[in-house]
Amino acid sequence: MSILEVSHIEKHFGATKVLNDISFSLEKGQALSIIGSSGSGKTTLLRCLNFLETPDGGTISINNNVIFDAADPSTQQEKEIRSKRLHFGLVFQNFNLFPQYTALQNVTLARELLAKERGSESKADIEAAGRELLAQMGLADRANHYPHQLSGGQQQRVAIARALALHPDILCFDEPTSALDPELTGEVLRVIRNLAEQKTTMIIVTHEMAFARDVADQVIFMDGGLIVEQGDPHEVIDHPKEERTRQFLARYAEN
């Protein structure tokens, strides 16, 4: 049974159609990579899943529950969106860590605010869990550093820990290494690879082709807001069927 079911998602910005009839599904414990050139709609798709953009058409279901239906405004109420978006975690291209909080506070803040509302967990428990997550990211000794005292790669790993702290069903990455110096991408990719090995359900928008092929169970190639090709990563990346996929990969290989 698939954990995520996306059907016929449409999104316009003015007259421009950025997402056109996007449908795919994702199994629990699987990783999905989305590849494609800039402007192909990859990031917008992730933003739709995280309710940062509202699709103009289509539905999104989690565990067979429709959590978003463009035709049904009752699924789009502010109050519910808040809890629905917790199904997803999002790691941004530019990290977006909160500069006034330490690495540990960045990881624990949202969970502490939730616990305050629900009265569920103690602060000490949340903090212990936060330290544990940072240790998992190889950042145990950086817990009390502020973002500006960390390298880009370290900041991105804190951001991953922050997203994991709320136990999302699906963790989304929006070009997690694109803002990093080349020598720092390895440490972030390694962390994502570990998560894949632990069967974290993930959607990864990336320009790292080799990484996409190795880590993902499924690859989607997008162009002009459409899914051009999807399937097994070795098939799509090594033996693409579509002309447009071939052109993209050829262009990519040149660089």
């Binding site: 995280n50 309710f51 940062l52 808040r82 809890s83 978006r85 917790l86 997803f88 975690g89 999002l90 941004f92 530019n94 977006n96 860590l97 909160f98 500069p99 006034q100 803040l109 949202a110 605010l113 939730l114 502020y146 973002p147 500006h148 922050r162 997203a163 709320l166």
Partner: protein
């Protein structure tokens, strides 16, 4: 005589400090309300706030002081108590509204200067709008607005001297009266020293706040 003058000026300084503190007390939060209004999704509210800011920033504070003080009486319904209290109240109301408008523009700049990714990161983590403002945006905004706010607040110290047009006996008024009655020049310079000390203390305070917020970028 020096001692006498000092005492008189100190009583003027008391009034000046009172106007200063009361104005800050009301204008700092009111400015935030106007700032939110001017960024609202509701067009009429945005329009109203922008118009008020335009009128208040577009006319002299002295004119506004006179207007707040005398217009209620002239149109037949004086809202101010008689005597010093009434004049003080009119002063504080005029100053608070005037400064709130200037502050609102600084606040807006501070809020809009916080990268949109900060808000989105909060949203994705399931925070409410309120939590995002108080836990994430506010401190980053404060850090950004300390330098322009310090400018504005230092200007306020000296603008309090305008209150003399509606006969509020603040520091400049007392210094000026002493000069007139005694025919001496130095009390006026002495008055200036009071302002310098006042602003000096504020400068130290603002530098302290800036240093305290230096731990993040």
């Amino acid at each position: 005589m020096f001692w006498n003058i000092t005492l008189t000026l100190l009583s003027g300084l008391c009034t000046t400090i009172k106007i200063f503190l009361l104005t800050l007390l009301f204008s700092l939060p009111l400015g935030l309300v106007i700032a939110f209004g001017s960024m609202s999704r509701l067009k009429p509210l945005r329009w109203l706030c922008n118009t008020v800011v335009w009128i208040i920033r577009g006319t002299p504070l002295m004119l506004q002081l006179i207007a707040f003080m005398y217009i209620p009486g002239i149109i037949g319904h004086n809202i101010w108590p008689s005597g010093d209290t009434g004049r003080m109240m009119a002063t504080v109301v005029a100053f608070s509204i005037n400064y709130a408008c200037y502050f609102s523009v600084i606040y807006r700049g501070g809020i809009q200067g916080v990268p949109i990714g900060q808000r989105e990161a909060g949203e994705v983590l399931g925070m409410t709008k309120r939590q995002i403002f108080f836990e994430i945006t506010l401190l980053q905004m404060i850090k950004r607005i300390v330098p322009p706010m310090s400018n504005e607040i230092i200007t306020l110290v000296k603008d309090t001297s305008l209150a003399r047009v509606i006969a509020v006996y603040e520091l400049t008024f007392t210094g000026y009266s002493y000069m007139k009655s005694s025919g001496l020049v130095w009390p006026l310079f002495y008055t200036g020293v009071f302002y310098l000390l006042f602003v000096g203390i504020l400068t130290i305070l603002f530098n302290y706040i800036e240093r305290r917020l230096d731990y993040f970028r």
